[in-house]
Amino acid sequence: MNPRSERAGFVPHLVMGLMAVYFLLPFWWLLVAATKDNDGLFLSAPLWFSEFHLVGNLKTVFSQENGIYLVWLRNSALYALVSGAGATAVSALAGYAFAKLRFPGRTKLFALLLGLIMVPATALVLPTYLLMSQAGLVDSIWAVILPSLLNPFGVYLLRVYTHESLPDEMLEAARIDGAGELRVFTSVALPAMRPALVTVLLFSMVASWNNFFLPLVMLSDDHLFPLTVGLRTWYMSATLGNGGEALFNVIVTGALVAIVPLIAAFLLLQRYWRGGLTIGAVK
């Protein structure tokens, strides 16, 4: 290694360092801000600690308005789990069928799926709301969960993965052994599809946890709100000052508590995140 290539190693690291500061600064600010009371938030230096009130803030977050934050947290978890598991199950069945079973209309249906994969979800929220309200389903957990079960991209991803990684001979062998189609699916196909299933599960759970537009429109009972919608109501009342109880330090701490599980899940399951994005990139 000559000196020139070593210097070339320094500049990239400097650039990466500066970019890392940009990406991480808001997190640092949030972490510091969550330890301050409302006065500290306004009066002390924004990027460094002053009096330590994290425990008090956490207590307030969880006790504010009779502990509604905990209800929102539970709702977010419930919506994410049920939507995630449901969407993955539906996608697994359909993805497997598209990849491995011959049935009339398969090609046309899959072409339709490919065509509809790009329909923007935001354009569908309003008509879905109106249809759901005619069906009497708005302002219930189903109004948020049922539309989230549809995941065309998950079906596509599982179809591609199954097509490439599950040899027909394995299915054939199981059939010759006398296994029924459901049995072939559960004991041969599902284990082989596992890495892609985890990716789809992770992505649909995160999508549901992050969802905002759909629950914002569908729900009016604040006991059904997920965290995203709930925190926004606190934020609105704090910024507009219209009689809301929440103070900024409570919102900041609430935001921190809301992202901790996501970041933990993200760090633990990196492999699967990247797997999903890479398959998406190949497309």
Partner: protein, 306 residues
């Protein structure tokens, strides 16, 4: 093993074509049963709402006449509405400025982590990607605080009102860049990882430096991934909604009720109960995004595995 062979041999011996036919029928039935839940959801939450939005957009509702067929009146109104036009122009400007900046950052970051294989570059990869794991609502809230005059760290240094009407679009662009640059970095990095290493090994032997290799060889080789990421970002920015809605209470004067087409459609429906007009705007926007991406997918289909 022997058992299996005997059984399958027996099956063919007994039946031949008829069982084969029955097996095909069974496979077809299973196939349909397996896709059925997906098809039901597809109809209920995609095709039906689409058709319903289109139908709504062709009707009008007035106090005197009640609901009546109005054909394309809502659409002509939308085309003439200066508030729609303002929002459309804004998201187009936003898409044209914010997208290249963000994809540029993502490309630079991807080239850097592809080049450097140190422990720090692995840490950087995580740091850049973490904002993607944060819900858009919360990411926007965080930046709302950082932009604020009293709470944020920048104001005492820069004396800029980040939410004044002159800079608010750039401030919103920064939120989007912060949240999505790392995601695009990973997508581009995956494309870079798929390149054959020999190509730039030989360029290196020919005396090309890492910067030259990155810009002259690697970047052109992943151009299709860059184009794809750019297009998806532009289509995303056309639907711009959550960020302006969250920051609206901070400065309702600069982030208006018609700031983007989606914000406008949302307010038309839920503040003014103008469902028909709102449906027309949503349908128009959805159609633009849909047609745009479909044309693009068709154009790039030859190169993909599909």
């Amino acid at each position: 093993m022997t058992q299996v062979e005997t059984r399958s041999a027996a099956a063919t011996a007994v039946a031949g074509p008829p069982t084969k036919k029955r097996r095909h029928l069974r496979e077809a039935m299973t196939g349909w049963l397996f896709v059925l839940p997906f098809v039901v959801l597809l109809v209920a939450f995609l095709l039906l709402p689409m058709a319903y939005a289109f139908k709504l957009s062709l009707y009008r509702s007035t106090l005197i006449e009640g609901e009546h067929f109005a054909f394309l009146e809502n659409y002509t109104q939308a085309f003439k509405d200066p508030l729609v036009r303002e929002g459309v122009v804004r998201v187009i400007v936003f898409g044209l400025v914010q997208t290249p900046v963000m994809i540029g950052i993502a490309l630079l970051a991807a080239l850097l982590i592809d080049h450097a294989t140190s422990r720090f570059s692995r840490f950087f990869r995580l740091a850049a990607f973490v904002p993607y794991a944060v819900p858009v609502v919360i990411g926007t809230l965080m930046w709302g605080f950082l932009y604020s005059e009293n709470v944020g760290p920048f104001n005492s240094l820069l004396h800029i009102d980040f939410l004044s009407s002159d800079v608010v679009l750039a401030s919103l662009g920064n939120v989007v860049t912060w949240q999505w640059a790392g995601y695009n970095m990973i997508v581009l990095y995956a494309a870079l990882q798929g390149l054959p290493r020999e190509v730039y090994e030989s360029a290196r032997i020919d005396g090309a430096g890492p910067a030259q290799i990155a810009w002259r060889i690697k970047t052109p080789m992943i151009s299709s991934a860059i184009v794809l990421a750019t297009l998806f970002t532009i289509l995303g920015t056309l639907q711009f909604f959550t960020e302006p809605l969250i920051l609206q209470p901070l400065n309702p004067g600069s982030i208006t009720q018609h700031y983007t087409p989606n914000v406008y459609a949302f307010n038309q429906a839920f503040s003014f109960q103008q469902y028909n007009y709102s449906a027309a705007i949503s349908f128009l926007l959805g159609a633009v995004v849909f047609v745009g991406s479909y044309i693009f997918l068709f154009a790039t289909r030859k190169r993909s595995a599909l």
